[in-house]
Amino acid sequence: MTVAAEKPPAGSRAGRGRSPNLAVDPTPGRSPRQAVPFLVPALVLLAALVIYPLVYSLVRSFFDRSGASFVGVGNYVNLFTDPRTLTAFKNNVIWVVVAPALVTGLGLVFAVLTERIRWATAFRLVLFMPMAISLFASGIIFRLVYEEDPNQGVVNAVVVGVHDLFSDPSPYPGAQPRDGAAFTAAEEGFTSSQTFTPGTAVTVPLVGFAPGQIPAGASSASLPPSDARELRGVVWLDVSVGGRSGALDRGERGVPGLAVEAVRDGRVVGRTTTGNDGRFTFPDLGAGDYALRLAASNFALPFRGLTWLGPSLITPVIISSWIWIMTGFAITFIAAGLAAIPRDALEAARVDGATEWQVFRRVTVPLLSPVLLVVFVTLVINVLKVFELVFVIAPGSVQEEANVLALQMWQVSFGTGGDQGAGSALAVVLFLLVAPAMLFNIRRFRREQS
């Protein structure tokens, strides 16, 4: 690049000597006066629209809801005695520890790797896309992605799909013997509390299943005639308009293909399945008392995936959506930083025989560190401000578990309660939380200067 150097204006002296009170700045880059034109526009705007509101909030945080009476640190006391704040604080810690580092790391890796592919622009464009979608819409996307119903949420659809590859669904999910039909539920299934001897015909009324879902081949249920040597019975769906409960009414159909077990002394001694009319028969049990059991496998509820938006997974889930959104941000700036790195440094290292990993770790990362720092600090601060995502993604019932400080501030100050005092106190706390990030920066500046 060429540096255009103009002739020094007449009367100015190059050099480093300190000689104030001259109309022309004698010391390039060393005087406040030279800084003025560069800084004034920014400072005016910041003072009027950012610093003034900040001071206003600080003052406001010591006043009550109406702003009329001074309450001292009352708002702060309320804040820290509210268990919601503690949850929010805890979640903020998780966010800050996990999310920015992850996104900066991903951004760095992707930015470096994309230098090696031809479709780098396409890749960056793809990762940039989520940034171009409003947070509200992104929130709705992830609300749906993680929806519990596998017909709606793509994650659970995949989870359930994979699960169902390995296990067959049960024929009658959710069905059970009618209450009072003397069957008790246990892990293995529904076992009759009464025992039966061969020669009996047992009626087993089933409920909790849609009549329309019974296999088409099912026929009317009726009690089989008893036979002295056999334990027989019928299992039918005891549901019909105007039907009596526990009785075989007209139009009630048998339940085919149901696994029935004969149990003696806690051991399964016979197994059979019901026919199309719902009848079942144990032909050769031998004399004795047998309990009947309807195996649990008949009724197992289908696997529905995980409750992603439940209280335990909600914060990781929201963080994952934030990562989806913000990686594009990190990659863009880190790529910009990479573009500004002098190629000679990298080439020199490569010529010296460094492996790619060594180049990355010893050259690229150190040279990128100013950008990485900007990205990381910005992400930390962005994380502290996250609230739309939490508000939109977390169902109301787990909002408390997913709470973060920025969301609480929003609700306190602008929920219909409109307590600007308490809201301002939260804002001040939020501001103070960033102190570590700022201190970190100051120290870094110092090091740079020295």
Binding site: A4, P8, R116, R124, I133, N151, Q152, R343, L430
Partner: protein, 295 residues
């Protein structure tokens, strides 16, 4: 820029083997990145399908069911929005708000960042820290104080007011970014220019700005994006005539339900411009590379 020491132990290993490994490695990288891109695209693709179905279909089944049981996809969501004159007018308003906001932020922050990075004056460190600290200021906190200010200045309901707000709140990040970027420019370059007697303004324009092009390009992209997608500031400070697209889309939403059909359609329509801006500025990254390598 900080001096980097590269110490490499062991003999150079650049034989045939390592080249094979690097080829293979490249293949792995390609596949890996393709998978990552796919992962990122899935939700966007789902959103695209949602925008092509009506609310009832979207709530009845997931978007992937179009593969197994193709339902009728329709462009009517788009037709409704594009045919809506309010939405079209708001599109223009968004441009009127986003372009000046972006230009002003970039110009003002570049000046300030130069001042903070390369001109020494007492309290510079603290001023820098203060500006960076302002990054954390949440927009909501400023609404009421700024409303009072705008109320007394008569800026309520004007595009100017909305732009000023965006500029002020875009500055901390922009200054932070550019200051760090500028500070990384080799000191010799700047000092050499000074020795030649160049004025600060000239150094800024001829030395610093060209090197910082990639950073400025990415700043432009994001500043534009943030303003483009803003709802809150516009809702509060813009009136009906100056309302941007986010506000107009908001007005289309039904009271209940996910509104995913409308949101997705709106998202795709309003995504076009930011993506175009991204592509337009992306090429400056390449220029940055050239500039860097010829040093």
């Amino acid at each position: 820029m900080t001096v980097v020491e590269v110490s490499v132990t062991g003999a150079p290993r650049r034989g045939v083997l390592s080249r094979v490994v690097s080829r293979l490695g490249n293949g792995v990288v390609q596949v890996g990145l393709a998978l990552v891109a796919l992962f990122w695209l899935v939700p966007v693709f789902g959103l695209l399908i949602a925008s092509l179905r009506d609310e009832a279909s979207n709530t009845a089944s997931g978007w992937w069911t179009i593969f197994t049981a193709p339902t009728s996809l329709t462009l009517s969501n788009y037709a409704d929005l594009v045919g809506n004159s309010t939405v079209l007018r708001s599109f223009l308003n968004t441009v009127y708000i986003a372009v000046p906001s972006t230009v002003l932020v970039v110009v003002i922050s570049a000046l300030a960042a130069y001042g903070l990075a390369w001109i020494e004056f007492p309290g510079r460190l603290w001023l820098t820290t203060l500006v960076v600290g302002l990054l954390v200021m949440p927009i909501q906190v400023a609404l009421i104080p700024v409303a009072k200010l705008f109320g007394s200045l008569g800026l309520f309901g004007t595009i100017t007011g909305v732009v000023l707000f965006h500029v002020a709140f875009g500055l901390p990040f922009a200054i932070f970014l550019l200051r760090n970027f500028f500070a990384g420019i080799p000191r010799d370059l700047v000092e050499a220019a000074r020795m030649d007697g160049a004025r600060e303004w000239v150094i800024f324009r001829r030395v610093v700005l060209p090197i910082a092009k990639p950073a400025i390009a990415s700043l432009t992209i994001f500043q534009f994006l943030w303003v483009w997608n803003d709802l809150l500031v516009a809702l509060v400070f813009a009136d009906q005539d100056s309302a941007p697209i986010t506000v107009a889309l908001r007005a289309q939403l039904r009271q209940f339900g996910t509104n995913i059909d409308l949101l997705s359609t709106g998202a795709f329509l309003s995504m076009i411009v930011p993506l175009a801006v991204f592509l337009a500025f992306q090429r400056y990254f390449v220029q940055g590379v050239l500039a860097g390598s010829t040093k």
